[in-house]
Subunit: 354 residues, 4 copies
């Protein structure tokens, strides 16, 4: 049984991590931290975990040394900027203890390889560029081998997970030209568990709205970085997100001009082949389309392909659960891999539908 | 007081027409028809209209002559194919009675000017091409003058209303190139009031899904027709709809490559100017974005503009209430105009928000 | 045109008041106040009111003298405790100006006639007992005459409106015994527009929860006061509220032991008779049941009656829109009456359904 | 690995059974039947199960002999009336094959021990009274021992599960008098997966409504039967259901007059003691209240206690997932027990929250 720590238990990603680890057969959450909630038990904060073993874990103040001493792996579910600090502290403590601990960072701090790009988009200086160099981007469908050997994993963003998986086979095979549009829609857990008027039930329910339109969203450089690596050339995307009145779920509708004369059937075959050894990417049969509920609570990414022959576009629709695949369950999958466990340990469930 | 008939009271557009006419000061719904519900009162079918005068109107079987005899205006809220038949019958009866009656057709039967295009997309033959020639496309922000003189009004589709209004100033001023993508999202009233599993609460709620992806949706030719007229050249769009877990509301996110070097401020000024005399189009200040709830239950179309400078695209977001502006309230506005009443008679309400 | 002021425009009741007054033909909102939002226009805060005349009203800091000077009527949409202070200040200013202004208080401050009862339940001292004596309880279906002559109207609470109207005929006619249970369910606008985690979309959506179970809710004494007056004896109720994942709407299911041998048909006749001159109470035909959507955005209260013969209970179900009938539209109705206008001026709309 | 058959895969209970069995470590769904969908694979009907082993199971027409031959256990997820026929046929086939098969019936056919009571409430004759005598009521928190030895298990109804568990300790200890009211609210999966207008998204969403008010719901005799057994005297309840705009979840608010002078703390202690060996009943600490989301997708029943001291009532709130604990997951738990497996085999997951 590996011992896990969780820094930042009060947000939705922390909450989901606690949920997933509640019945994990080989990773036990033994330490959870939060400034505001220190002293409470997890079940006081999250009554749905009452009577689960994890429910009686006491939430503590953050203490790097104690985490480093007692944990095999630590999940960082804190805001960007804070995460890089904690990662550095935990690394220093582990060094002092002559011990290795694995880190899975759910923030954006170690996702962008170029610190200048990071600084441009996140408006803060990257202070841990040494750690940044060691970090592995945790998209296990692509980087499984690297993740197995990683000490610090940059868990991918939710929108990037859906977008990159949706485009990866197309860009690696030069099927599409560079003028790519991603129209993405996310459930409201993506907005976090902060008390703010714009996230109130009565401001979101029976409503739909765009935000950060026009290439302003911070997930843009992360998507571009990974697609550029895959394409071996610089790729630009116009990424535009919207807020859905659902709790979980992202659906990205991706429009890419066809770069060559190729049939939908052939593209489909390429996608199937690319993901043949990726058990959590489900390339749907032609004619079917994804729905967010089909992946709810699971690690699956459902991908469908269509051609708009009149306008020569490949249209990829890609659905994930933003909280599970787009954050915490992906983090646990990465934890599994870097601890030497099978990818799907403790997270192989059927989606909750309906 | 004008007397109105409504053919097809059982769908959501019929229901919404009844709702809107319930307190209209100059149009009185006196006849409502439905095959399944004949014999009931409107308030039996729609208890929310109990104790309103309209609630006691008896639903009858469809009878063209009786409608023609007793009504000044008839709304057709029946499926395409059926609507053209009724329009022809009502016209014939009116002729026989030597009387003029106005028709507002909420189906697609008289929207597409080219009968061959209609037949290609709707898979039925257009049997009333004479009437088709007389029909006026009922987008009053653009065709107000023609509607005032019309006898037969083709009420616009819901997606086309949002899409055309969103693009009209851009295409009339040659701001954008032809490679236009419309990523549209609609509330579920758009799927109709038919008993079908795919529209059940538990199949739609907390879910989001695309449909008719790849240029297959029948609203495509309607959008292209009106944009082509505005642009005075042939325009193609890739139109892709999605189903939202909300009752009312369409939001279209429109991506159009910039055709010239023009600032966002200048585009915004052009939009404001174009719609200066269109009281129900609200061009939002730069930096604001529309939300479906902001137009709920109203005739407003909210339009916002953004530029993605990195990829040289104009991104228009356009929101309407699919049932009100996209169907029945637009029909009443058109009825007002063709009966000689002010456009906003009986339909000037603040949106219901929250 | 009467001039109205609104103290507290930022909550849902203030928002709804602005919405309702936007197109009121005889009351014009000219002053709106808010500490946090002073300086903004109403349309900046509430974009759904853009292009309505009311949208351009500037939100100001609260200033009792300026309100008293320029308004004929002032709506108080501030928390209890604050409302009584403002009411006193406005009264003093009006006196100084030798002018009469009408006050409609949407808080609880003037609802409870007995200041000790108020203090027990609200845990603050009532500092305006003189004003309290002048206040009229604004349930116009019962107190229309008093409201017409009132200067200070205590606008009823949302739950009390549904509960009292549901029981009033039964208790006035001694049909039911004292052991009454009210199981009430409210939409989330009832929880206010405060930024708090428990009101976040992801904490309310696809969820249902009770709160204040066991006679702890502050609406209890308000319901008991009015029922006791109607019954001319002391009535106790067990009032138990629940939070619905809907925006607007209250449905109260009321269980009352039958006190006499009387048929359902006779009880129904008594309800119809009692409310014969109450145009906004709709006593449903036997066999029908209310739904919150049937009253959405309206002043209607829908009431249905059933008997559980096996357990000898009258079961009343009563539905209102908590924000409209349960707060702001009721306030406007009361304003209409006390200004000498017909009750339904500017608020006679069909419910928004769906 | 036990082999399981499922008669009736197309409803929500069948769908949920397939979902739960998808990754069950000891029961494999090998046969699924449906008249309308025969010939399809399960993953064609339920795309969320794609790439799970169960997804490739072919749906067949119902054939009692083939099910009896090849299955160790059969789940009946068909309407009442049909279930008793199938149970009889399967029993006869098993006899012929000299083989024992276990049956878990999710319909109401074997829940009511008295066939006359069944006939009164369900309006059909009970044709399998012999089987009825053998059936065990599958509420494992109470009848675990009987279930382990059962051949035919009557899986409890959803409302009865929440109601009986909520009242069981109180009635067994004579804490409450007989005048019990159950105000129950259910998610819409409870209405089934039939195509009907009243279950459409736009008829349920942002709405709340009662139904079968006044002791008319068929779950009444089931609740009364079990409470009467527990109390060892005849118990009557007034059971009144409502439809929630959520997918899963029942919350019952139960009002029972106190029959003796006992403190809330003592009642709480009795509840804790009664359920000390019932791992899936969570008696909440005093002061906490259940929420439907806290049990979503799980076998938990969350129970809270409150006293209304002013009116001398015990108020129990009890929450379950109607589809999981109220139907299919309870059925799998019963299957586990009667096959000799630990109760929680394959169904021990944390609730999906949010």
């Amino acid at each position: 049984m590996y011992k896990a720590g969780l820094i930042g238990v009060t947000g939705y990603t922390g909450m989901e991590l606690a949920r997933i680890l509640a019945f994990h057969p080989q990773i036990e959450l033994t330490h959870a931290t939060s400034r505001q909630e220190a002293g409470k038990k997890i079940e006081d904060l999250y009554p749905f975990l009452r009577s689960c073993k994890i429910g009686s874990v006491c939430i503590a103040d953050y203490n790097a040394m104690s985490l480093a001493k007692e944990c095999d792996i630590v999940f960082l579910a804190v805001p960007h900027g804070t995460a890089m600090k904690s990662a550095a502290e935990l690394t220093a403590c582990a060094k002092e203890l002559k011990k290795q601990i694995k880190l899975v960072d759910l923030s954006a701090d170690f996702r962008i390889k170029n610190p200048e790009t990071f600084e441009t988009w996140y408006q803060i200086k990257h202070e841990q560029t040494d750690l940044l160099k060691q970090a592995v981007y945790g998209l296990f469908d692509i980087y499984e081998k690297e993740i197995k050997n990683a000490r610090l994993i940059a868990n991918p963003g939710c929108y990037p997970t859906a977008s990159i998986l949706g485009l990866y086979p197309a860009v690696t095979h030069d099927i599409v030209a560079n003028d790519i549009i991603i129209d993405a829609k996310s459930g409201t857990t993506g907005a976090g568990r902060k008390a703010q008027v714009s996230s109130l039930f009565c401001e979101v329910h029976d409503n739909f709205r765009p935000y950060s339109i026009g290439g302003k969203h911070r997930h843009t450089p992360e998507i571009e970085q990974e697609l550029s690596i895959a394409a071996q050339k610089e790729i630009f995307v116009s990424f535009n997100p919207h807020l859905l009145p659902v709790e979980r779920g992202i659906l990205a509708t991706i429009y890419a001009p066809l770069a060559k004369n190729i049939s939908l059937e052939d593209i489909h075959a390429l996608y199937l082949e690319t993901y043949a050894r990726a058990p959590f990417v489900r390339v749907l049969p032609l004619g079917q389309l994804p729905e967010t509920r089909n992946v709810r609570g699971s690690l699956f990414c459902d991908i469908a392909l269509a051609l708009d022959k009149r306008t020569h576009k490949l249209i990829v629709t890609s659905a994930i659960d933003n909280l599970a695949r787009g954050a915490s369950m992906q983090a646990v999958a990465n934890a599994n891999l870097c601890l030497g466990l099978p990818l799907d340990t403790g997270i192989l469930h059927a989606p909750l539908c309906p």
